[in-house]
């Protein structure tokens, strides 16, 4: 389990790796390039650094290296969420939830999901 927190750019790359599984640098870069102007070697360098940090693994058997995320999306989200709640909402996850709920259009299905989750939490006590 990696402990290092991904930077913003690294997170963008992780998102792509999480969604598309093991892929070459070129693949990641082409998606990234649709989101922002960036050179190929920039993407490459970032991914090399991520490999050093242990954020990704790579298969260097062939000339074209294949990269895959080394940390799970859920684990990373939870880790970043904890830090974010601490830093921005002074540790109050509920304050965050209230703000997120209040300022975003939630569909009926999503609200039902949340109600169900609350139900479940209440029953567990």
């Amino acid at each position: 389990m990696s402990n290092s927190k991904p930077t913003e750019s690294e997170l963008e790359i992780l998102q792509i790796l999480w969604e598309h599984g093991p892929v070459p640098v070129r693949f990641v870069h082409e998606i990234l390039a649709t989101q922002k102007a960036v050179g190929y070697t920039t993407t490459l360098k970032l991914m090399q650094i991520m490999a050093e940090k242990g954020l990704v693994n790579r298969d260097t058997t062939n000339r074209t290296h294949i990269y895959v995320a080394a940390i799970s999306e859920e684990q990373t989200q939870q880790q970043l969420l904890d830090k974010f709640v601490e830093g921005t909402f002074r540790g109050s996850a509920m304050k965050l939830v209230m703000q997120a709920l209040g300022n975003n259009t939630a569909s009926k299905e999503e609200l039902d999901q949340i109600k169900a989750l609350i139900q479940k939490i209440e029953n567990e006590e």
Copy 2:
């Protein structure tokens, strides 16, 4: 309204300013120093930079300058929240809510609050 996003260190200082209103650098520093090892001039410099950026305002009438946050806590939280949801949860605020709810001990009162909020949202449609 300031547009620049506070860095992590700047956010720590803003937290203190939000909680304690207009205070001198020394005051901020002493709270900060309980949280991490940091020199006085470091805190001072940061707050000076924040003044330049427009994140804080200061009264320089007297020798001891008095600082106050120039951006509201709510506005900043919302701004950071939006960015965070986008970057970490690919724009799905509901996914974030679910994860925050699922992994933190919420009191009965807090859950009631959330239920009330959901109720309110449902009635508005």
